[in-house]
């Protein structure tokens, strides 16, 4: 048992314990909570990187929490999808850096530690969700990050935030219930909660009807978390009204958890011979395609910058699901990489938009005219990220779209490729609109003229993310190579 394996539990333990300590430690010095949170997330990041190193060296590995071998204990499992935790930790780290100057402006000073605690717990929950190999543990950590996400949305001021949070909560809770119900069904059939074990024992089950229902319930439950059309209704409200770093976190990371949840479900139970996943996959394709177009069109008509970005998330989730639904190695690996790339891009987008909105006090796109002159770096970062989200090569957004488009062709769906491309074009349309507004229109609003560039801490996070959203596009091949082994089980069902 090497030290790295303990990291599987530590990536959960460290951020959560860190988060739990924050309110107690920093009651008197709320603003200092930032440093502690940063340190814990950095530690988490370091641990997750060591995990990835081991993964690369030895392949997927498990960790029996408490020393109990599965199925008696909870097995944590690290594979190439789990490697996403490194990216999520990284993004959380950058979001924290960004928050240093942003959060004191929108959150009462006494509650600042709460914010950091929630972010850390969110990270811990995400990590736990991603590394667990146990169905019920999955549910528990899903609730951990969900509850913290509801709360983070509600941390914003204004009547919209509370309403958005409760809507998010209601849908999220129902989805959690569906997941729990599905877990109950599987448990009742197999008597185990370990995913691999359960998948193996499902074959022996008397009937596939409960299994099918469980799978459906899991999928729908995770679809809500992932905000796949038509279950995305909570997302625009929540992501638009939350504070910018929270929006970044939610759009970049939290919705991805739902996606990875579905991948895990499909992957685990795809071996279940009696079950045909084909209808499910074509359903995903359809929904994904509609999501791409719907999200893009809805984004086109938004006047609120953050709401627009929220709809862009709907689009991109659609892309990912198209890729998953196609299921071929090309498309699914593209989808998998897009999970990461979109996380980075969307974080860049929301943070940059947050900086612009924060510094100018304006959030309507038309009001932001000419802000590019005042805040060149933030606006540039937003521009780069917008191009990336549109999938302009060689940015990060291109990788996924290329692979998904290629996969569509491989499986003889040229129209789907058309959808992929048209979606990208629509995204580009509003991306260009924003870039145009920022850089090439004279200022309209007096606040624009008095705005100043964002402080260094915010800028650092934004620029790093924007740069990554460009550079990751150049790293498309290694990333695809990285996920390729993880994709294989999915491919068989395609």
């Amino acid at each position: 048992m090497s030290a790295a394996a303990h990291g599987l539990a530590l990536v959960v333990l460290v951020p959560i314990v860190g988060g739990a300590l924050i309110p107690a430690l920093f009651r008197r010095f709320p603003t200092a909570a930032w440093g502690f949170a940063l340190a814990s997330s950095a530690l988490t990041l370091a641990i997750s990187i060591s995990l990835i190193r081991r993964l690369l060296a030895e392949g997927p590995f498990s960790y029996a929490a408490g020393g109990w071998p599965p199925p008696y204990g909870v097995a944590l499992h690290f594979d190439r999808f789990g490697a996403a935790i490194a990216v999520f930790s990284m993004i959380t780290l950058l979001v924290l850096i960004f928050s240093r100057r942003y959060i004191p402006a929108v959150v009462p000073i006494a509650r600042i530690p709460l914010y950091y605690a929630l972010v850390m717990i969110n990270l811990g929950g995400m990590n736990g969700f991603l590394v667990t190999g146990d169905l019920f543990n999955l549910f528990v950590f899903m609730e951990v990050f969900s509850v913290s996400a509801y709360a983070l949305v509600a941390m914003a001021r204004g009547p919209q935030a509370g309403l958005a949070a409760i809507k998010y909560l209601l849908l999220g809770a129902v989805s959690s219930l569906l997941v729990l119900f599905a877990i109950g069904l599987i448990f009742a059939q197999t008597g185990t909660l370990n995913m691999a074990d359960a998948a193996g024992r499902l074959d022996a089950a008397a009937s596939i009807v409960p299994t099918a229902l469980a799978l459906g319930a899991l999928t729908i439950g995770f679809m809500v978390k992932a905000a796949l059309f038509p279950l995305h209704v909570w997302l625009p409200d929540a992501h638009a009204s939350a504070p910018a770093p929270v929006s970044a976190l939610l759009s970049a990371v939290v919705v991805k958890a739902g996606v990875i949840g579905i991948i895990r479900t499909l992957q685990t139970f795809s071996d279940h011979g009696s079950l045909q996943l084909m209808p499910l996959q074509s359903l995903l394709i359809w929904l994904g395609a509609i999501a791409v177009l719907w999200g893009a069109v809805a984004a086109l008509v938004q006047s609120d910058l953050k709401r627009l970005l929220a709809y862009s998330t709907v689009t991109n989730i659609g892309y990912i699901f198209i890729g998953l639904g196609i299921g071929s190695a090309t498309a699914a690996s593209g989808a998998a990489v897009h999970i990461i790339n979109h996380a980075v891009i969307k974080a860049a987008l929301f943070l940059a938009a947050g900086a612009l909105i924060h510094q100018s006090g304006l959030r309507h796109i038309d009001d932001l005219r000419g802000l590019g002159e005042r805040m060149p770096l933030s606006a540039l970062a937003l521009g780069v990220a917008l191009l990336a989200v549109a999938g302009v090569p060689p940015t990060a957004g291109f990788v996924g779209k290329w692979q998904i488009g290629l996969g569509a062709l491989e499986t003889g769906r040229p129209l789907l490729m058309g959808v992929v491309i048209v979606g990208g074009l629509l995204v580009l349309t509003y991306g260009v609109r924003i870039i145009n507004t920022l850089f090439f229109r004279p200022p309209l609003h007096v606040r624009v003229v008095t705005s100043r560039e964002a402080p260094p801490s915010m800028l650092a996070a934004i620029l790093l993310l924007a740069a990554s959203s460009f550079l990751l596009g150049l790293a498309g091949k290694p990333m695809l190579d990285f996920v390729a082994p993880a994709i294989l089980p999915l491919t068989d069902t395609g």
């Binding site: 209601l170 729990l180 448990f187």
Partner: protein, 116 residues
């Protein structure tokens, strides 16, 4: 028909679940929706506990002289955890409803649509 009888416990849980779902779907009052949610949660808990039930079983307390058949301990532990989670969510939901009521002046969703 026999199947329905033997599985009547499950069916009851399903029935409760549906009742909760109905409330959640139809009622516009946020508080009622939360109530519906809680009913659904209860149903799911009941469902899971039912799965671990043993006819004429005893609680899984393994004293020196304990004699089976024991009920399965696992579902109970799960449900315990589930309940705590449900409580947490309910608490947060209530807090949010209070906030919505204060800021928006209503807890009826169809009225809240007009906010802002």
């Amino acid at each position: 028909m026999n199947v329905l009888l033997t599985h009547v416990d499950y069916i009851a849980a399903v029935a409760i679940f549906l009742v909760g779902l109905y409330i959640l779907l139809v009622k516009q009052n946020l508080l009622k929706k939360i109530l519906g949610l809680n009913i659904m949660e209860t149903a799911v808990f009941a469902f899971i506990v039912t799965a671990g039930m043993t006819d004429n079983g005893v609680p899984p307390l393994l004293g020196p002289d304990a004699v089976g058949p024991f009920a399965s301990p696992l579902p109970h532990a799960l449900v315990l955890t589930g309940i705590v989670v449900a409580v947490s969510i309910t608490a947060l939901a209530l807090a949010l409803i209070v906030r919505v009521k204060r800021e928006c002046g209503s807890v009826e969703l169809n009225e809240l649509g007009k906010v802002e």
